[in-house]
C-alpha cells in the first residue's frame, strides 16, 4: 500500500515565543490540528489529494486566527481582498483568484475556476461574478471582521507602511498565508494556498499565493508545494516551480530541493518565509528561513506533528 501524507501551513514570520500567550498558542495548535484532520480524513478513505488539500485549506480559511478567508487582513481602503490558488499534479490543471472580496472560501473559488472554467486565473469583480454564477457561498463584510485585524489596520492607516502580519502580537516581519499539500494513496499530488495579503496593502498588490509556479505548484512527476512568506521575492524566484525543476532536472530529493530554494535562492533575494511540500513517494517536508512557521503534517506511517517555532 502506498504512503499518503498531508502537510499544511498557517503562515511564517517572526513568531516570538515570549509574546505568545498560552491560550493563543493552544488555539493555533487546535486550528492546525482541525485542518489536518479535515484533510487527512479524506486521504484515509482513499480520497484524492485535491479533495484533501481543499478541505484542509477551507478549514484554515474558516478560522479567524489565520490570514485567509474569514481572518483576512484589511487593505489600505479598509476592505478585505483575498487571493488563492490550487493545482492538481495529476493533470497539471490549476485555478487561481486574485483580489476577490466577499467570497467565503477563496480556495473553493480557485477549485471551481480549475474545474468549471476554461481559465486558470480570474481577478477582482469578474472573479466575484464567476463565484456568484457558480453559487459559491458569499459573506457580508461583517463575517470577515475581527477587532484585532481592524486594530492592526487602524495602527497602520495614514502611513504608507504595509505589513505581512497575520496577528497583532507578532512583531517585525510576518507573513499571513495558509496552504496545504498532499499525496494520496494513488500517488497523485496537489497543493493549495490562500491569503488575505498584507495589512494596509494598496494599489491592488498581488503576492505570490495566487501565482502558479510562485506560491503554488503541483506535478505528479515531482512534488506539490505551497509557500508562505514575503511574496515579492517568491514571485521573482518562481519558488514553487523551482523546487519541482530541481527534482526533475537535477535529481534532488524533495527536502534537498526545498532547502536550496528556501535557504539559498530566497535568501539571496532577502526572501523571508517558507514552504511545505510532498512528493509522490509520500515524503513530506516543512522548510522555512524565518523565526517560525505555523505548520503540521500527518502521514499514513503514523507520523503526526503540529509545530510553530524552529
Amino acid at each position: 500500500m502506498s504512503v499518503y501524507s498531508l502537510v499544511i501551513h498557517g503562515g511564517a514570520g517572526t513568531i516570538l515565543k515570549g509574546e505568545m500567550t498560552k491560550e493563543l498558542e493552544t488555539n493555533y495548535h487546535k486550528g492546525l490540528e482541525n485542518a489536518l484532520d479535515a484533510g487527512y480524513a479524506i486521504l484515509e478513505k482513499e480520497g484524492s489529494a485535491v479533495d484533501a488539500i481543499l478541505a484542509a485549506t477551507i478549514s484554515l480559511e474558516n478560522n479567524i486566527l489565520f490570514n485567509a478567508g474569514r481572518g483576512s487582513v484589511f487593505g489600505k481602503d479598509g476592505s478585505q481582498e483575498m487571493d488563492a490558488a490550487i493545482m492538481n499534479g495529476q493533470n497539471l490543471m490549476a485555478g487561481a483568484v486574485a483580489a476577490v472580496k466577499n467570497v467565503r472560501n477563496p480556495v473553493e473559488l480557485a477549485y471551481t475556476i480549475m474545474n468549471k472554467s476554461q481559465h486558470v486565473m480570474l481577478n477582482g469583480n469578474g472573479a466575484l461574478e464567476f463565484a456568484k454564477m457558480n453559487k459559491l457561498r458569499l459573506e457580508e463584510d461583517a463575517y470577515f471582521y475581527s477587532e484585532f485585524r481592524h486594530n492592526q489596520w487602524k495602527q497602520m492607516q495614514g502611513n504608507d507602511e504595509t505589513a505581512l502580519d497575520h496577528n497583532i502580537i507578532i512583531k517585525d516581519k510576518k507573513f499571513g498565508t495558509v496552504g496545504a499539500a498532499a499525496v494520496d494513496i494513488y500517488g497523485n499530488v496537489a497543493a493549495a494556498t490562500s491569503t488575505g495579503g498584507m495589512t494596509n496593502k494598496q494599489y491592488g498588490r498581488v503576492g505570490d499565493s495566487p501565482i502558479i509556479g510562485a506560491g503554488t505548484y503541483a506535478n505528479n512527476k515531482t512534488c506539490a508545494i505551497s509557500c508562505t512568506g514575503h511574496g515579492e521575492p517568491f514571485i521573482r524566484a518562481v519558488t514553487a516551480y523551482d523546487v519541482s525543476c530541481l527534482i526533475e532536472y537535477k535529481g534532488l530529493s524533495l527536502e534537498e530541493a526545498m532547502n536550496v530554494v528556501v535557504h539559498d535562492k530566497l535568501m539571496k533575494l532577502e526572501g523571508e518565509g517558507g514552504m511545505i511540500g510532498v512528493d509522490t513517494k509520500g515524503n513530506a517536508a516543512m522548510v522555512f528561513n524565518s523565526e517560525g512557521m505555523y505548520r503540521g503534517l500527518r502521514k499514513s506511517d503514523g507520523t503526526k506533528m503540529v509545530l510553530i517555532y524552529k
Copy 2:
C-alpha cells in the same frame, strides 16, 4: 566586444497567408521593424537591455495593429483591460500589472512598479491609482478604439465565446500579445510582455503575460524570454521559467530549451503559441508551434529579420 541582440514578437496563432492583404502584411512588417529599430538604437548606444525592451514594447503597444496598449481587444463588457510584465535579468527585479484600464503604455507601468514600488504585481483600479501617482500617461477610451476591434467584439457579444484574436482576418486560434527580449553589450538580459488579452474575455480573466515565470522571465544566469499564445497552458507549464531551468539545471542551449518547452511540454497541454528569447552570449531564438508568429530580431553581428509565417 560582446554580441548584443534584440528579439521581438507581435503575437502568434493561425496566421493564414491567403487571408492577408499585401497592404496589411506590409504594415505588420513596418510595425515590427519600427519596434526593432526603437530597441536596437538603445543597444547600439551601449544602452541597457531593460531600456531596449521597454522601447521596443512601447512601440508595439502604440501600434493599433497589435493586441496590446492602443490596439487592445474589447472584453465582454466592452472595456479594454490590459496586462503587462517586465523583468531585469541582472538583479531579478520584476514588475507586472493585470487588468488595468486607460494606461497608454502598460509595460511602462510594469517598469515603474519594478523600479518605484516595493511590489511586483499590481492589479485593477489600484494599479491605475499607482500609474496616476507616478504621472504615467493616461488615455481616454477613444484612444484605444478601432473599428475592426469593435467589430470583432460585436461579433462575439451575446455568446460565451472568447477569442485570443489579434486581428479580424485571422481565423481560428489567434493569440494577441507583444513582447521583447534583449541582451546588451554588458551581457545583461531583460524581457517584457504586454497584451490586451482575449476578445470578449470575461470574469476578469488574466493570462500568462503578466505572470513572472509563465509569460515573462529574465535571469543573467540563463536567458530572457517573452511568450505569446493560449495563456492557460503557458501558466500551467510555467513556460518562461522552464526554459531557464532547462538551461541552468540540464545544460541545454537556449534554442534546445525553447524547443523542448514549445514543441513537447506545451503540446502535451494543447498549448498553442510560441516564444522569443535571448541568452547572455548574444544568441537569439524565435520558436512557435502555431501557424505563424509575428516576429523579428536584430543582432550586432548584422543579422536582421522580420517574419510572419513558418
